[in-house]
């Protein structure tokens, strides 16, 4: 099943393995993601969820197996890596906004320097994106002047400014105060409904249930179970999945 690459698979992972020193952190991962699909990855901490999505834009290097993103194989070729990175947006747990730049500069930086866009055009797109995430009035502020939820929404806008085909979310709400989680999840849900291909590592089961097309459960570096939200929350099969769900629900 996983071996056959289909035309509409935008991300293909085949027999991917990765070690941190002696520690086998990703074990024989096989996963295909279709265009416009929203895949949520869940699992206990240390199960390799973050490492998995960080391999897709080469923030981590996998040691064996194959990763193909939008037809581009991820190899040591720097041109391929930069191409994949400019087509893949990423949102981090700690936001990682650039503190020395204003919100506007944070968003326009990559379009201007990577896409070689004109400044006026980039700023116009940035304003549209800030409208979309609901904070156009914050454009001239610095990240340090915003709340966590606002910072994360800026980070989403910054990633979207590159017009990515895929968005990777690495625990986007884990560093937020509880009252700010919803504003970020709302933006993500709107994004999913607009047809963006998304890979989301999260502990927000409500989001997974409502937005995901498929849920991937990982444990100890393996993909243990893959299925629809309905399957997961009503009829999980594997013992480890049942145990995990019983612990968090």
């Amino acid at each position: 099943m996983s071996g056959q690459a289909q035309q509409d698979d935008i991300i293909i992972l085949q027999n991917v393995n990765k070690w941190f020193g002696e520690f086998h952190v990703l074990r024989d991962i096989n996963l295909n993601v279709k265009r416009q699909e929203v895949v949520v990855i869940i699992g206990p901490s240390g199960s390799g969820k973050s490492t998995l999505i960080r391999c897709i834009n080469r923030l981590e290097e996998h040691q064996s197996g194959e990763i193909i993103v939008d037809g581009i194989p991820l190899t040591h070729d720097v041109r391929n890596i930069e191409k994949i990175r400019s087509e893949t947006g990423m949102v981090f747990q700690q936001f990682n906004l650039f503190p020395h730049l204003t919100v506007m500069e944070n968003i326009t930086l990559a379009p201007i320097h990577v896409r070689k866009m004109k400044k006026d055009e980039a700023e116009k797109i940035a304003m549209e994106l800030l409208e979309r995430v609901g904070i156009p009035e914050q454009a001239q502020k610095y990240p340090g002047q915003l709340s966590g939820g606002q910072q994360q929404r800026v980070a989403i806008a910054r990633a979207l400014a590159m017009r990515p085909k895929i968005m990777l979310f690495d625990e986007p709400t884990s560093a937020l105060d509880p009252e700010m989680i919803k504003e970020v999840l709302d933006v993500m849900q709107e994004l999913a409904e607009s047809g963006m291909t998304m890979l989301v590592v999260t502990h927000e089961m409500g989001f997974a249930k409502e937005v995901a097309d498929r849920i991937v459960f990982m444990d100890s570096g393996e993909i243990v179970e893959v299925g629809t939200p309905e399957h997961f929350f009503t009829n999980p099969q594997h013992e480890r999945t049942k145990l995990f769900l019983s612990q968090i629900l």
């Binding site: 990682n96 320097h113 340090g144 590159m162």
Partner: protein, 408 residues
């Protein structure tokens, strides 16, 4: 179960309590809080009583200050010939207009620092022993500085590269103006003045400005080299940094003056002695800059690198746009401290036979007319060193505030 407590009216918003200061209250709070503090206060007062009256007595009655005005030109420009001295003024005027312009481009409001800087030429005009001609030339500095500022204010801040380029051009133009063009030893204004005649404060400042200007970019490159993934670049950087940091500056200066010529091929034209000293200073300072900048690089969180990479920036773009701006901001205080050290270390060139401020002081003291004026001369040059060092330190604090270090 206790009954729930619900607030019915909002608590009043009050200003913070203020402390009323009286002189007595201040004394008690700051100097006489307990017996130990009181003891320290009296010890300090006793110490000041021992030091200050003799110092004042010496400064106002004992000291022979005549040595300073009599040798003032020497202190300022060494043996740079009087016939060509107007060129130093040309450099000053050029500098005044460009600095004024740069200030105008960067800052549109009139700050206290601007007022202080603008007052310097006027204050210098009040120095009692200056000739009227000198005062008029200082007036020229003032006027050109103001003109530059007024022009600069009309230039929007986003064009600040113009100011940067003008500063760099002025720096190099100054050297050509000071060096001159024609043959040596003529009376013409533009005759060449060999660098062994450059001296005094002029030489100290030139060595410092060029030392800082060149060692800074080299140091940044070395710091990046030390973090490079390429083993060759990393090894060369580490070897360079550790070798230079392992030897004292004076040994580099001696090597430049004495040994360099031996290594060069036969018939190679001798390199200018000031340039040799300058190269030694740059090589030395670059290694320290590299280590300071490395500290800054390490203070930038890993997430900043990851965010930059995930947006598709190349390594060069990531360093230039994201990492270095943050790293350098974090180390401004350390770097300025190092540059102040460099400024004072230029006095070591006196030991290899150049006549910088300290070298020229020793020349003055060797003159039989001024025997026994060591105290006056050294106090005078110490004050000069202090003024420039303090100015750098003050400027760095202003820079930190305007860049918002420690606030975000």
């Amino acid at each position: 179960m206790a009954a729930p407590v619900v607030r019915t009216s909002s608590a009043e918003v009050l200003p913070p309590p203020t402390e009323r200061y009286t002189l007595l209250g201040w004394l008690k709070k700051n100097l006489f809080t307990d017996w130990f503090n009181t003891l320290l206060t009296f010890l300090a007062l006793g110490f000041l009583y021992l030091i200050i009256p003799p110092l004042l007595r010496w400064a106002f009655t004992g000291a022979e200050w005549a040595v300073i005005p009599a040798n003032f030109n020497l202190f300022m420009r060494g043996q740079y010939p009087a016939e060509q001295a107007l060129r130093i003024w040309i450099v000053l005027w050029l500098t005044a207009i460009v600095v004024g312009f740069t200030w105008g481009v960067w800052s549109k409001e009139i700050s206290p620092a601007l007022v202080v800087v603008a007052a310097i030429p006027v204050l210098l005009m009040l120095v009692p022993f200056f000739a009227m001609e000198t005062r008029l030339k200082l007036l020229g500095v003032e006027i050109l500085g103001v003109v530059g500022y007024v022009i600069g204010r009309r230039v929007p801040r986003k064009h600040n590269q113009i100011a940067t380029w003008l500063l760099i051009i002025t720096l190099f133009a100054s050297v050509f103006i000071l060096r001159g063009f024609g043959p040596e030893q003529t009376d013409s204004l533009w005759a060449r003045v060999p660098t062994n005649l450059w001296g005094g404060l002029l030489l100290s400042l030139l060595l410092s400005i060029f030392g800082i200007g060149f060692s800074f970019p080299i140091g940044v490159l070395l710091a990046l080299g030390r973090q490079s993934k390429l083993p060759a670049i990393r090894t060369v950087s580490v070897l360079y940094i550790e070798f230079i940091r392992g030897v004292p500056l004076i040994s580099l200066l001696f090597m430049g003056q004495v040994m360099l010529q031996l290594f060069l091929p036969e018939g190679f034209p001798p390199i200018d002695r000031v340039v040799r000293a300058l190269v030694a200073i740059i090589l030395f300072s670059a290694a320290y800059t590299a280590e300071n900048v490395r500290g800054g690089l390490q203070s930038v969180p890993k997430g900043q690198y990851e965010a930059a990479m995930s947006l598709g920036l190349s390594t060069y773009q990531m360093m230039r746009l994201i990492i270095l701006p943050q790293a350098l901001r974090a180390v401004i205080p350390v770097l300025v401290g190092q540059f102040i050290g460099l400024f004072k270390d230029t006095s070591l060139v006196a030991l290899v036979g150049l006549f910088d401020l300290l070298g020229i002081a020793r020349v003055v003291l060797a003159n039989p007319d001024w025997l026994g004026t060591q105290q006056e001369v050294y106090v005078f040059i110490a004050i000069l060193y202090w003024i420039f060092s303090y100015a750098m330190s003050y400027a760095s604090r202003r820079l930190e505030i305007s860049l918002g270090v420690g606030q975000r």
